[in-house]
Symmetry: C2
Subunit: 334 residues, 2 copies
């Protein structure tokens, strides 16, 4: 039973999304789709960790404003981030009077939240749910790699953590787009030990989830406008395509990656591309929702996460990865 | 709507629990209820982090053995721990072929898993779900406080992180005990900045959730055999009682705390008592389930978590806390 595609019980709409990104992201190709491009990396705070928490708070505020709702109109919130003990999100929600589930899925958190949020909504437990995920370049850099001031050099396969946050308001009923199906990720670890090559670690998890979906559903990839991974970046996307090719899945023209879309690698110095919980969260909450409103009918969002810790890497462990999938449908084809 | 008690849609049973604890816990009053008391703090591994992951793996194995199930018979697993990026649980599940949701709720993780697991089961998405939570004294000590070898002195209000893991097999139908209701915790932060007094930080969250439950349900606390918090320990329990007293809730004879029960403070040098995700997880998966089998009809389990990071504390932030509640009923009174 544990390979099943989960059908969401009743209509669960994404009523709206909200997104905030930082300076580098606002110079990327998706700039015009984000709600706020904030040039101040500190978001008016005195530390990067507080900055990230403030970014989450503002994003949730924008979301409520767009939906014209008060926080008390929402049943619960689910969210997480990359910081130790997920403090960006935890501190944010101490400022909102709302039941809260903390998640840890590394860069898959946006997708994990959408899966669990739609199960809660679809199961009839709550009419409205907020999901949110964030990351911040500078808070991640010093936690996972080096202090920013050290100016450490990156390897070509490394990814740049996105400063960004994306939030979604899910509700039962509503006018779509709808979350209709989900595949919960399994932890996949193929032995990659290079923390500067998370794309290679996550690609097998993405392949596992995508192939499970197509095997179980019997669908054709051409039924989908986009299969959006987040965030394999250049290196990981190449490996994903190779892995899919071995399994006779050749629809590469359908495959997009949030870590590739958020930056323009030809003119931005981001190595393999973007990463971080906030990357796929902000791209899906802005550009992908825009596409669903304006022509795209079916999108598979496959959020990928690399769940190692710096300590585990120092202890020689490889990188366990995961990929959660949600099928988002515009509802126009019904 | 966001103060509601969640009624679990259909019968969700705890088919069984499994628990492993370490040496200190095996010398405590609940020793005979745990499945395994492991004297080797390394669990046969070379680091404490790997030890914790191995403990989680063994606990899930015992759970499957007790339930006479294969991992493929279970729809998904939910779990988490205290380590940065929740690596104890993440690495554990790379060894099991099962869909996995990573959670972060600090010491409330066991309760958070039971809430979400019963929503997934009760919502009809999965017939069987595993939930798990763990902590390890030595991996926590070096991450949150000092290296063990440093032999740092503790303050009287500090708690000892339990080396322990508890897992639950939830299923739709079954013979009980049943999870019948849940209250999702809100993040409560009353300004406590002393990381050696987590009980004080978490007590207001516990009070908030307990009072929400009794206000909404209109029930009398005397209907419950136990209201089990986990883990406020001595200091936090005293504060909880004071907070409840202010609100005219006086049924202190019903209040128990996993951090108080797992150790005997009169003969064990544990200061205020036990803490850690594995404390309430192991106590509820063993002793509390035993009580429900042998006479207790209704138990409220209120899992509390302090969600700060060491970095946030160094930055002068206070401790955001949370408490998730599940109502577990033996089913005999039906």
């Amino acid at each position: 039973m544990n390979n099943e595609i989960i059908k969401i019980n009743s209509d669960v709409s994404i009523r709206c999304g909200a997104s905030i990104v930082g300076a580098d992201e606002s110079e990327g190709p998706l700039s015009r789709y984000f709600d706020i491009c904030e040039k101040d990396a500190y978001f008016g705070q005195e530390t990067w960790e507080k900055a990230e928490s403030e970014m989450v708070r503002r994003t949730v505020g924008i979301l409520l404003g767009k939906a014209e709702l008060d926080i008390s109109d929402v049943g619960c919130a689910l969210g997480g981030d990359l910081l130790n003990q997920c403090v960006a999100t935890g501190y944010c929600f101490s400022g909102f009077d709302i039941p809260y589930f903390g998640l840890y899925g590394a860069c898959s958190t946006a997708a994990e939240g959408l899966v669990l949020g739609s199960l809660i909504c679809g199961g009839g437990y709550s009419d409205r749910v907020i999901t949110v995920a964030s990351s911040h370049f500078s808070s991640s850099e010093r936690q996972f790699r080096y202090p920013v001031e050290y100016a450490g050099q990156r390897t070509p396969t490394s990814q740049q953590t996105v400063t960004g946050c994306g939030a979604f308001l899910l509700e039962r009923g509503g006018g779509g787009p709808y979350i209709t199906e989900a595949v919960i990720g399994k932890v996949v670890d193929k032995g990659i030990t290079d923390a500067n090559n998370m794309g290679a670690a996550m690609a097998p998890a993405a392949a596992d989830t995508i192939l499970r979906y197509f095997r179980e559903s019997g669908r054709d990839a051409r039924e989908f406008d986009m299969i959006v991974t987040g965030d394999l970046a250049f290196e990981g996307t190449e490996i994903l395509k190779e892995l899919l090719h071995f399994e006779k899945f050749e629809h590469f023209d359908r495959i997009y990656d949030c870590g590739m879309m958020i930056f323009d690698r030809s003119r931005q110095d981001v190595h393999s591309g973007g990463s971080g919980c906030g990357c796929s969260a902000s791209v899906v909450a802005s550009y992908i929702l825009h596409e669903l409103e304006n022509g795209a009918d079916d999108v598979l969002f496959v959020g990928t996460g690399a769940m190692m810790s710096p300590l585990a890497i120092l202890q020689g462990r490889s990188i366990p990865s995961i990929a959660h999938l949600v099928h988002i449908s515009s509802g126009r084809k019904r």
